[in-house]
C-alpha cells in the first residue's frame, strides 16, 4: 500500500478502531488455549515439570483433572479453567441444562454442559479462521480470473464473466447449503471451500473492471510498445495496479465469510459438532429458545459475530476510501466506487458513465 494511502486510512479514528478490534479478535483466536482451557499452562506434578499441557498432549496427563494436585504440585492456570469441548460427567451436573451463569461457569453452559465462555472464546478461532482463509482463497481466484478476463478479453473474458454471472444468480445461502448438503459430512475445510468457490465471482467482477481501465493506461501501452512479452506486461504492469479492488474485496470478504459460516453452522451444515463455533452455539440456543437459561447462548455469539464482522467492514470501508482515487481528488474513476458491494450483473448497456454503478465497465 502506498504511504499516502496508509496516512489517509489512519486519519480516521473509526478505521483504527476497526483495525484494533480485528487485531484483538486475532489475538483471541491465536491464544484461545491460553485463555480458556481445562489444562494448565505450566504444571508441576509428582516432580515432573510439564510445559504447555494446554497445547501438548502428555501421556502421563491423560485423564488429568484439576483435583489431582497433591502437595508439592503446582499449576499455572489460564483465566478460564474450562475447555470448549469438556463435557462434565453426568454425576457432577446440578439442575437442568443449559445451566444459568454461576460461580463455576460465568456465562453458564450449553445444553451438553460445556462452558459457554470457553466455547465463545474458542469460537473466535473458527470464525476468523474460516473467514480469513475463505476470503484469501476467494480473492486469489477472483484476482487471477478477473485480471485475465479484463486484460486478455476474448473467449476467456466471456467464460469468466458468464461463470460469475451464473454464480451470482443463485441465492448464495441456498447454493452453499446445497453444496454442503451433498457432501458425506461437512467439515470446516469444506465450509471454507464452498464459500471461497462461490464468492470469487464478486471479486472477479471488480478486478475485471479495474483491469479494463488499467489496460488502456499509457504505461501499459508503453510496455507493449517496448516489446515486452504479454505475460510480463500482465504480471508487472497490469496485476499490481489491479490490487486495490482485490484488497478491498478481501477485507469485506472476511466479514461476509464470517457471516456465511455462522449461518451455515447455525443450519447444521457448517462447522461440525463439537467444534466451538458461534453459529453452532446459536443453534444450540435455538433448540430451547424459550428457556431463559438459553438466551445467553443466542445473545452473546450474535454480538461476537457482529463485532467481528463490523471490525472487518470498518477496515474495508477505510481501505476503500483510502485507495479510491475519487477520495484523493484526482478525479480518476476506479472500479469500486459504489458504496455497496452489490453491483450490476447484466452486460446490458448502461447509462453512459453516470451513476457510479459498475463504473469502468464499458457497455457492450
Amino acid at each position: 500500500m502506498r504511504r499516502g494511502a496508509w496516512r489517509s486510512f489512519a486519519l480516521r479514528r473509526r478505521n483504527l478502531f476497526g483495525l484494533g478490534l480485528a487485531l484483538g479478535f486475532l489475538l483471541l483466536a491465536l491464544f484461545a488455549d491460553f485463555i480458556a482451557s481445562d489444562r494448565p499452562i505450566v504444571l508441576r506434578k509428582e516432580g515432573t515439570l510439564y510445559l504447555l499441557p494446554n497445547l501438548i498432549e502428555y501421556r502421563p496427563l491423560r485423564g488429568f483433572v484439576a483435583g489431582d494436585l497433591r502437595s508439592g504440585d503446582w499449576a499455572l492456570w489460564p483465566p478460564v479453567r474450562h475447555g470448549p469441548y469438556t463435557i462434565p460427567p453426568l454425576a457432577d451436573l446440578e439442575g437442568p441444562l443449559p445451566q444459568p451463569p454461576g460461580p463455576e461457569h460465568p456465562l453458564g453452559t450449553d445444553s451438553a454442559g460445556r462452558d459457554v465462555l470457553a466455547r465463545l472464546l474458542h469460537g473466535t478461532r473458527t470464525s476468523l479462521g474460516v473467514g480469513i482463509v475463505a476470503a484469501l482463497v476467494q480473492v486469489s481466484i477472483g484476482l487471477f480470473l478477473g485480471v485475465l478476463a479484463g486484460y486478455l478479453g476474448g473467449v476467456i473474458d466471456v467464460a469468466v464473466t458468464r461463470s460469475a454471472e451464473v454464480l451470482l444468480s443463485f441465492p448464495l445461502l441456498l447454493l452453499l447449503l446445497a453444496a454442503q448438503g451433498v457432501l458425506e459430512r461437512t467439515t470446516l475445510f469444506s465450509t471454507m471451500a464452498v464459500i471461497a468457490l462461490t464468492r470469487w465471482a464478486d471479486t472477479s467482477r471488480l478486478v475485471r473492471a479495474e483491469a479494463l481501465r488499467v489496460r488502456e493506461m499509457p504505461y501499459v501501452e508503453a510496455s507493449r510498445a517496448l516489446g515486452s512479452p504479454r505475460l510480463r506486461t500482465l504480471l508487472v504492469h497490469v496485476l499490481p495496479n489491479c490490487l486495490s479492488p482485490a484488497l478491498v474485496a478481501a477485507t469485506f470478504g472476511v466479514g461476509s465469510a464470517i457471516l456465511l459460516e455462522s449461518a451455515l453452522s447455525f443450519l447444521g451444515f457448517g462447522a461440525p459438532e463439537p467444534t466451538a463455533s458461534w453459529g453452532l452455539l446459536m443453534a444450540n440456543g435455538f433448540q430451547d429458545v424459550l428457556d431463559p437459561n438459553a438466551r445467553v447462548l443466542v445473545l452473546l455469539p450474535g454480538l461476537a459475530i457482529f463485532l467481528a464482522v463490523s471490525a472487518f467492514n470498518l477496515i474495508g470501508e477505510g481501505v476503500r476510501d483510502a485507495l479510491d482515487p475519487r477520495y484523493q481528488g484526482d478525479g480518476e474513476r476506479s472500479a469500486f466506487i459504489t458504496s455497496d458491494q452489490k453491483r450490476k450483473l447484466s452486460p446490458m448497456p448502461r447509462r453512459g458513465g453516470g451513476n457510479g454503478v459498475g463504473g469502468g465497465t464499458p457497455a457492450t
Binding site: S169, P171, V289, L290, N313, T338
Partner: protein, 320 residues
C-alpha cells in the same frame, strides 16, 4: 428484436444454472449401499429400488454431460421427478413453496424501497450532518448483524406477546389480519439487510447527482432547495435503484432460508433445507434451479424497467 437478443443472452446463464444444479446432485453420494444406510431416506419410506430407477431415468448415473443433457430434457418438458420423501411431484412442491417465499420477499422489497428513499434522501441532503452520521452508523450496524441473531432476538422479544412466532396462520383461523400478523416478524427480518444496501446506494447516487450541472442550473434559476432535491435530483438517482431490484431478490432468498427455518414457514428456504437434510435429490435440484431462474427473471425485469424509465437506455444498444 432487441428483446429477443436479450432473451437469447439468457440461454447460457440458464444452462449454467441448470448445470450447477445437476452437477451438485450428481456429486451426492448415490451408491445404493450409502442410500440404504441413510436415516433420512428410510424415514421417508422410499425404497432403494425407486431411487435407483430415478437416478437411472434422470441421468444421474450417466457420464456428466450425457446425464446433464438427459436431465435437461426432462426439465424443459416440465418433469422434475417426484420427491423421495413423499412421492409428490417436485413441481407441485415448488408451486406450494414459491408463493410463501414471494409473500415474504415482495412486501419486503417494497418496504425496503419505501424506507430507503427517505433515509437516503435525508442523508444526502446534508452529507456529514448529524442525521447522516447517525443513519450511516445505523446502516453499518444493520450490515453486520447476522440474520439468525436478529430473527431469534425478535422471537425472544415477541414470545409471550400477541405476535405469533411460528407458522403462516393460526390453527383454524383464515383471516388476512392473522396472516399479516404471522408475516410481521419474518418480513422485518429480511427487510433490514436490503434496507441497508438500498439506502446506502441511494445516498451515494444522490450525492453524485447533486454535483451535476443541471442541479446547479436548477439552483441558479432560484428553485427552492426542496424542489431541487425532490424534483431534479431524486428522480435521476432513483434510476440506479431499479438496477438493484434484480440483485435484491437473491439476497432476500438467502435470508429466507434462515428466517423460514426459525419461523417455521413452508417456503423455498425450508423446502431446500428439508431436501438437503433428507437427501431428497429431486427436490434439491428443482429448488436450486427455480431459485436461479427466479433471479434471472428478476434481472431481466429490472433491465426492462430500466429501459422503460430511462429514455437514454434502449435495448437496442448504446444510444448514439
Amino acid at each position: 428484436m432487441a428483446l429477443s437478443k436479450r432473451l437469447l443472452g439468457m440461454v447460457p446463464t440458464f444452462l449454467g444454472i441448470t448445470f450447477i444444479a445437476f452437477a451438485l446432485a450428481r456429486a451426492a453420494p448415490g451408491h445404493p449401499l450409502a442410500l440404504e444406510g441413510d436415516v433420512g431416506l428410510r424415514a421417508g419410506g422410499n425404497t432403494v429400488a425407486q431411487m435407483r430407477e430415478y437416478r437411472r431415468s434422470m441421468g444421474l448415473d450417466d457420464p456428466l454431460l450425457v446425464g446433464y443433457a438427459r436431465w435437461l430434457g426432462h426439465v424443459v418438458r416440465g418433469d422434475l421427478g417426484d420427491s423421495f420423501r413423499d412421492g409428490r411431484p417436485v413441481l407441485v412442491l415448488l408451486g406450494e413453496a414459491l408463493p410463501v417465499t414471494l409473500l415474504l420477499s415482495l412486501p419486503s422489497i417494497l418496504l425496503g424501497y419505501l424506507l430507503a428513499i427517505p433515509i437516503g434522501v435525508v442523508s444526502a441532503v446534508r452529507p456529514g450532518g448529524l442525521f447522516d452520521r447517525v443513519l450511516t452508523a445505523l446502516v453499518f450496524v444493520l450490515y453486520s448483524l447476522p440474520v439468525q441473531w436478529v430473527a431469534l432476538m425478535l422471537v425472544l422479544a415477541a414470545s409471550g406477546s400477541a405476535v405469533p412466532i411460528q407458522g403462516l396462520r393460526s390453527e383454524g383461523v383464515r383471516s388476512l389480519g392473522d396472516l399479516l400478523a404471522h408475516l410481521l416478524l419474518p418480513i422485518a427480518c429480511i427487510t433490514y439487510g436490503s434496507l441497508a444496501v438500498l439506502s446506502r446506494h441511494l445516498r451515494s447516487s444522490m450525492l453524485e447527482t447533486m454535483g451535476q450541472d443541471y442541479i446547479r442550473t436548477a439552483r441558479a434559476k432560484g428553485l427552492s432547495e426542496t424542489a431541487v432535491v425532490l424534483k431534479h435530483a431524486l428522480p435521476n438517482s432513483l434510476l440506479g435503484m431499479i438496477t438493484l431490484f434484480g440483485l435484491t431478490f437473491p439476497a432476500l432468498a438467502s435470508g429466507a432460508v434462515i428466517v423460514e427455518r426459525i419461523f417455521g414457514l413452508p417456503g423455498m428456504g425450508k423446502l431446500t433445507f428439508d431436501a438437503v437434510l433428507g437427501r431428497d435429490l429431486p427436490v434439491l435440484m428443482g429448488s436450486i434451479t427455480l431459485a436461479g431462474l427466479v433471479t434471472m427473471v428478476g434481472l431481466l425485469v429490472s433491465d426492462l424497467l430500466y429501459a422503460a424509465v430511462d429514455p437514454r437506455i434502449s435495448l437496442r444498444g448504446k444510444p448514439a
